[in-house]
Symmetry: C2
Subunit: 276 residues, 2 copies
């Protein structure tokens, strides 16, 4: 950028301090308090400057402490893009017309864990909050995958948190996509198989009412499971997985990129692939 | 709620108008302009009221036109939860301590389409924007799954948009999860196989530089594909899928719930399940 500004020298600078992104845009990270009128004035001149430079998307990241700058940004034509508890990201599309800005995150991701011991008993819990509270329904341990967390890591973590059982990840057996699970957001739920490495259950106090090893047949016989088409599929898949004919899900392989240091898990039917 | 308020009668009401949710919380949808000081005052008395009622999470949905109410809400202790272009959702956790509020959406979801005709040619495109612009690299059609859109629908839509080829969805062959793909958000990319129902390509003008049917071997021989571990896996999987030994991915089945009218796709290895 040709000019920079901070709270102490703001009055002598004409533009907000922005960092170029890789898509022809500019990212402004506001860290220090600023008078809203000064902010509005600098924003106006900055947009004009960036328009001349041919910039496209202008991003402003406002920490929650600077909530008083939200209104002036909106008055300059910014829209909200996304928010996390402690910041709001606003964006302005300079070229006009349909923008090519990246979409906001649209999905939450959850995991359910099928964990079976050598006696064909499956690890089940009763939750003490949410829709299953007080129902007496036994269910697989489930949980939400955190931003930045691998699905295979999240499944192991949730089982450990809820039951203290150590496990190793085996496969994704299936997944379900659902919509409007929370406000307008969608949800992907991965049914995972994990191999137990320990067997003594100590249930989590805060979220879990009870936890036990239960014969798979007993789990499957619950009226709630029998009534739900999805849960019947899950029982069929788990039974197939531990049966004689088998069932192949997707197992994770760690892949590296030739162009960065990033490693990502790729989940595929490795049994079928190895047969080739 | 025991009292309601709107812009015309705000002064005679003591509390904001909230709707109870299913988790012991209250949702306030602000639709009409309100003086920020009055809003702050009503918010204070409402929280006190809801605290006495034993309420937990308080949600305030502010349309972008009411951006002047963001600051007073934050001053009362609200945090941001999520935002879409035209609204901001704020939330306040009354009980104190660790909250059990649902997490914000954490992932974006993408699809890549493997489409092969009867001559073992695969449908490939060159993009005219983004990181592949001007590289001459041929790639499978890809795109972002919209909020509320099924993965199997998104894959068919993207192929149609980019190439005008009609297809039917066959399977998810594999998927990759990656992190920090956009700000702090994660990404899940589903490799999908689709069966072509038409064959005459008409490329999209806005995003696609070129599109063609290309022998799978020629696609695989591209130096860029050879260098990327992920792309080599994808070639191996696609080759296996159309080879003599086969490869089984996850195909979608529509499941219904016993407790709502919602239908959701469940993706599973239906070939292995049917063998049982």
């Amino acid at each position: 950028m040709s000019a920079s500004v901070n709270s102490s020298s703001a009055t002598v600078n004409k533009f907000l301090n922005g960092i170029n992104d890789n898509y022809g845009g500019v990212v402004v990270q506001m860290n220090e308090p600023m008078d809203p009128q000064l902010f509005a004035s600098l924003l106006k001149s900055s947009i004009s400057h960036w328009r001349q430079q041919g910039k496209k998307g202008v991003w402003i990241k406002l920490p929650i402490e600077l909530a008083n700058l939200v209104e002036p940004a909106v008055k300059e034509g910014f829209l909200f893009h996304h928010a996390e508890p402690n910041y709001l990201m606003l964006v302005y599309w300079i070229p006009g017309g349909a923008n090519t800005l990246p979409a906001n995150a649209s999905h939450r991701v959850g995991v359910g864990a099928f964990v079976m011991n050598g006696k064909r008993e499956v690890l089940v819990v009763q939750e003490n909050s949410g829709r299953f509270r007080g129902t007496g329904i036994w269910k697989f341990p489930t949980g939400v995958v955190d931003e930045g967390e691998d699905i295979c890591v999240a499944a192991v973590r949730e089982v450990k948190e809820e039951t203290s059982i150590d496990t190793e990840f085996v496969e994704v057996l299936a997944f379900r996509q659902s919509h409007r699970s929370f406000f307008e957001k969608s949800d992907i739920f991965f049914l995972c198989m994990l191999r137990p490495l320990s067997f003594d259950i100590q249930k989590q106090e805060s979220e879990i009412e009870a936890a036990q090893w239960m014969p798979l047949e007993e789990y499957a016989a619950q009226p709630y499971v029998q009534k739900q088409e999805l849960l019947k599929y899950i029982v069929d898949i788990c039974s197939a997985k531990v049966g004689t004919r088998g069932y192949h899900g997707f197992s994770p392989v760690l892949t590296t990129s030739a162009f960065s240091d990033e490693k990502h898990y790729f989940y595929l039917n490795s049994v079928d692939l190895k047969r080739q």
